[in-house]
């Protein structure tokens, strides 16, 4: 998707608890990106606090804009377009980025584009030098989403399966809370799982015993609670619970990925979203890809989680195709991915 003339797009991501800005150049690729994580801000509360998140985005947007332009060696007037995440996400957080992005584009007299957050994640692997060709299967696993998507091209997404209740990352966060661990819960549970023995307790692999590609992680909470209630509270029990919980989530994702690859015949698997940083899952999916004879792609870790680069990239492709937002500011807390216009 690279062209001979440069078209430079600023991307702004503020859908949850990361403020991410980046500049993508259609000719030279990613020029710069900057991120401010609010994890520390929310750690005391054990999760993202919407009001705090919005305020923090507002505070960080302009300093990050200066930072990213300076790193790219550009001035504001060098921007040819502005793309911002308009949904799905927390409405106040989204509006902070949408208002800043739309206003900046208006002031610079360049087109603006509202980007779907999940499209950003789906296209993030295309930021890498070793990038997958279309079509590919994408497993998107984060705190807010667990989806298997058939990606035929930009804006051509078929949702093959998704979580019917808790997202995989959300299940990690909640189990972390039950185990008395801190926020964010994913890395804390994974670290504890390293010291534990999966299989001492046996949790189900939800919905793997029936056809279909949907997920359900809510019921695992009950199994964790039952084991914790039936055993003395000590470090070994907690570690073994963490290990079996992680094994259950990883194996469930694995079974569904395998099924989706076989059903679609797709040859490339892309794994994205915050949970894709989980080491146990990465190694299990590498084994799967060898067994199935497909290639697996993991975006670099900083682009697995929320970031501005993926929004700049997605926005650049759509702006180049002539799409643009009218002069209004809108955010969509819920926004079905399969309603996007294909390119």
């Amino acid at each position: 998707m690279q062209s001979n003339t440069s078209f430079r797009v600023l991307g702004i991501e503020t859908s949850c608890d990361e403020t991410g800005l980046a500049v993508f150049d259609s000719r030279y690729g990613l020029l710069a990106h900057a991120l401010h994580s609010q994890v520390q801000l929310h750690a005391d509360y054990g999760g993202v606090v919407p009001e705090l998140a919005s305020r923090d985005h507002i505070r960080k947007l302009l300093p990050l804009l200066r930072e990213v332009l300076s790193a790219a060696g550009l001035g504001r007037s060098d921007l040819d377009g502005v793309a911002y995440t308009a949904g799905p996400g927390l409405v106040g957080a989204l509006l902070a980025g949408a208002a800043a992005g739309r206003a900046l584009a208006w002031a610079l007299d360049v087109p603006a584009l509202a980007v779907h957050h999940m499209e950003g994640h789906l296209l993030a692997p295309l930021l890498e030098a070793d990038r997958p060709e279309f079509p590919f299967l994408c497993l998107l696993v984060s705190g807010g989403h667990t989806q298997l998507i058939d990606v035929a091209g930009i804006g051509r997404y078929g949702i093959l399966g998704e979580s019917l209740d808790d997202a995989a990352g959300e299940a990690f966060d909640k189990v972390a809370k039950m185990l008395g661990l801190g926020y964010p819960g994913g890395p804390a549970v994974a670290a504890l799982a390293e010291r534990g023995m999966p299989g001492r307790f046996r949790f189900p692999r939800p919905m793997t015993d029936r056809p279909g590609l949907d997920f359900s992680f809510s019921g695992l909470k009950t199994h964790v609670l039952q084991v914790l209630a039936a055993h003395p509270d000590n470090a070994d029990v907690r570690a073994d619970v963490a290990a079996e919980f992680q094994a259950a989530v990883v194996e469930t994702l694995l079974v569904k990925c395998r099924r989706a690859l076989r059903e679609t015949g797709l040859q490339r698997l892309v794994v994205s979203g915050g949970v894709s940083a989980n080491r146990a899952m990465r190694s299990a999916l590498r084994v799967l890809s060898e067994e199935e004879g497909v290639r697996v792609y993991f975006p670099r870790l900083e682009f697995c989680t929320d970031n501005g680069a993926m929004i700049a990239y997605a926005g650049c492709q759509r702006l180049l195709a002539g799409q643009a937002e009218p002069l209004r500011i809108a955010a969509y807390p819920r926004w079905p991915l399969d309603t996007l216009a294909p390119l």
């Binding site: 808790d166 039950m178 964790v224």
Partner: protein, 157 residues
Amino acid sequence: MRLFLPDEAATLALGRRLFEFLKPGSLVFLRGTLGAGKTTLVRGLLRAAGHQGAVKSPTFTLVEEYALPGLTLYHFDLYRLTSPDELEWFGFRDYLRSDSLCLIEWPERGGDTLPAPDFSIELELDLPGRAATIETAPGGDPELLSEIGSAAPPGIS
């Protein structure tokens, strides 16, 4: 009134029953620890309302919306609120309408900002099952509770 729910199916069944006693404008509080079955009960209720799709946890989004025939159902999770003031900030009052049904998990995070509910349900762990304590609004119809209890399907005692 207190009911024992031996398994997930019983929690779903209670949700289905409860729907029959709600009307547009109703407000329901759902209390209970992580994993107590609050969202499971809501799933049962939504099934009775004719919604067959996913019932996602609203922990991440704060509120999930369901357009039902002649009625909009809002499923809230206030777990992440740090102060009741934040309810005003996200326009909470706009959700409480005569044509909407609001189910609220973690209502204690909303403090006095929330109006009194028509029903308040507390789910407790009674492993492997759950126990549900149901209360109506002060001045509410006590017969309603015994009706819900007597209408309880097999599996609930």
